[in-house]
């Protein structure tokens, strides 16, 4: 707690990835101000990426965030290939899609069961929860592991990809490995379905605030690997315009830049995707949604957890479809011999390229400019958590006044839960969450 009597402070928001702090100013039981401080040390990626050669970039940027390293790798690859005119084969794209889908399963399961569910069921952590719900926790850990196994088989390592490179893969999975994954996916799928029911039945806080929702969209499928930028305000834009559409605002109290559009925050992530793209879900996920009690579009941020459960089931079926296709058509075509990276000697035209993918927390944008030797001269990364920071503040400004008759602890917990609903990844946005409360 802070020494200032007008300031209540919860030092660390826990069960999020990274380090940050929330400061809440309250005067006479009225909320004056909320600031979300990201006080994580900055790593200045965008500065030292300049001067690196283009084929090094995917491995370097995978280190921005471990939880969505495959997503960073994919977004960087797309941007670099766009800049350099290199084309990845169709099979390579399928393998990338599979890797990022494994990451969705891993990340969503981790958030839903290990970080969020303890809030709704009144436990301090998943470790405490394991004592009371051993079967659910064991199955959740198994499902998380399956997500990792998918990414590991597809890319050589679940955290920080190895074989997923410019143009294609330096190693591709064997048929046996793919068949192994397929069997595991089918075995685990009933729990993915059950997860939809568990997360449909939680007692979500009754909080409604409509904001702008932005996600990738394509009429062809539930956009995760590819699509155009789409907004709930009705506009669409190609990914190449992301730097104009979403400006990052630097705020003095935070080490992460904030996503701002026309002076207000916007929401990226599972809720935005569900609000904009539910028609494109695969059949089973769509049927679950139709039969369930929560409908989209929803303006309740806490419904993000239910959206994650529906996406989880979608990703299971998508993974099964990709793997069956790869077994039938052969993964070999996605392979690029390292020799081909002797394209390093090739001359490029100086150019700028853009790439975006959906990652568990929202749309991830990368852009790079390269010179004629393939050396990076400009790098820019906009992470979902950075985009969501302003919107999280705006949510707290709208939600916390409803709770002013509660205890400090309850208000702090509600603030933490609001932040956690976004599953913020602060390494991405820089990193840590603390709540400081002023009243």
């Amino acid at each position: 707690m802070s020494e200032n009597p007008n300031q209540l402070e919860v030092h660390h928001i826990t069960r999020v990835e990274g380090h940050g702090r929330i400061i809440i100013d309250v005067k006479d039981r009225k909320l004056e101000k909320v600031e979300l401080n990201i006080i994580e040390g900055s790593r200045l990626f965008e500065s030292w990426l300049r001067g690196r050669r283009l084929d090094e970039v995917p491995h370097l940027v995978s280190r921005i965030c471990a939880i969505c390293s495959a997503g960073h790798t994919a977004a960087a690859l797309k941007a670099i290939e766009d800049a350099s005119g290199i084309h990845a084969s169709e099979t390579a794209v399928k393998l990338r899609d599979l890797a990022t889908m494994g990451e969705f399963i891993q990340s969503h399961t981790l958030h839903m069961y290990c970080l969020a569910l303890p809030d709704f069921l009144g436990f301090e952590s998943v470790i405490a929860m394991a004592g009371k719900l051993p079967n659910e926790v064991k199955l959740a850990l198994k499902m998380k592991k399956l997500g990792n196994d998918i990414a590991q088989v597809a890319t050589g390592r679940a955290v920080n990809q190895i074989s997923m490179n410019v143009k294609g893969f330096s190693r591709v999975p064997t048929k046996e490995e793919l068949q192994g994954l397929l069997a595991k996916l089918k075995e685990m799928r009933p729990f993915a379905e059950k997860s939809c029911d568990i997360f449909a039945g939680l007692n979500y806080p009754n909080f409604q605030r409509k904001t702008e929702y932005i996600a990738l969209h394509t009429p062809k499928e539930y956009a995760l690997y590819d699509g155009k930028i789409k907004s709930s305000e009705g506009w669409k834009a190609p990914v190449s315009e992301w730097e104009q559409k979403a400006t990052e605002q630097v705020v003095a109290y935070s080490n992460a830049k904030q996503g701002v559009r026309n002076g207000h925050g916007y929401l990226a992530g599972p809720l935005a995707r569900m609000n904009l793209n539910q028609k494109q879900l695969l059949d089973a996920a769509k049927a679950k949604l139709d039969a369930g009690p929560i409908k989209f579009p929803s303006y309740n941020t806490f419904h993000s957890n239910y959206a994650r459960a529906i996406e989880l089931l979608h990703c299971f079926d998508k993974c099964i479809a990709i793997i069956e296709d790869l077994i039938a058509t052969g993964a070999e075509k996605g392979k690029v011999d390292y020799k081909e990276y002797a394209l390093l000697a090739k001359k490029f035209s100086a150019n700028k390229g853009y790439g975006a993918v959906e990652v568990p927390r929202g749309t991830l944008y990368h852009s790079y400019a390269i010179d004629e030797n393939g050396i990076v001269t400009y790098a820019n990364v906009l992470t979902p958590t950075a985009q969501n920071l302003r919107n999280i503040e705006e949510d707290m400004v709208a939600y916390l006044p409803q709770l002013m008759d509660k205890t400090r602890e309850e208000i702090c917990h509600a603030a933490e839960m609001t932040v956690r609903a976004y599953d913020p990844c602060i390494s991405c946005a820089t990193h840590f969450l603390e709540v400081e409360f002023k009243d």
Partner: protein
Amino acid sequence: MAKPKVGIYGFTGCAGCQLEILNLEDILLDIVGAIDIVNFRMAKSQNDDVTQLDVAVIEGSIVTKEQEEEIKKIRDKTKIMIAVGDCACFGGVQKLTQFQNLEEAKKLVYGDVQMKHAIASPLHSRAIDEVVKVDAKLPCCPMVKEEFVEALKCLLAGKKIDIKPHAVCEECRKNGNVCFFEKGHVCMGTVTLAGCGSLCPSNGYPCEGCRGPVEEANIPEQVQRMRENGLSDEDINRKFRKFTSGAKEFANALEIAKNAQATNAPQEAKK
């Protein structure tokens, strides 16, 4: 007997090593049963900052003054401190700012806004042992989780951690990979500490040196081989200065090679 008290802390990095602990799904519940995790902010809400620790596991590098204070406090109450991953062991990829002007780098990313927090006075990333004493290091990016479990077992049994003394090459040969140098490419496996099971070469990609230099790494010979493969000085620096540029042998590879040449030249002339 009381369970050993363990704290798991994340400083600046990607949280990948902490995630690798959570990725030990098959044995995670056994681990939390065998030890008393008193601090693990990424995974739990009730964290204790007072209790004396038998083991502190540190991920991430130190980039702010606040972190410097915090790591000192943790050190003061800890018997054995282990640094896991390249950020904690070498300062991580963010250590690459050491080759830049920090003020300019900061301006490039954040523009002219006067920051209230630590970023107002940025520091270069530092490995944990540049700030406090570290008892054991488990490099790699991310840490190898099996190696972590073995190390934890050793520490808790009061044994010394077994660090392999050889280069990645040895593991690579055992795995039956064709050498990248034989195929006409450059690989860092010759000068890099083993322990990953030659993971990158086994996935068709040359070693990137993420476990840092092996003891007695022959840097001049590696530089010479790189030159023979047509690499420019910039290329050579890029190979050495990636995930473990905090290792002096890698940060100063060209200089080391040059000095070795200067020392050898008079002897050659005598022959």
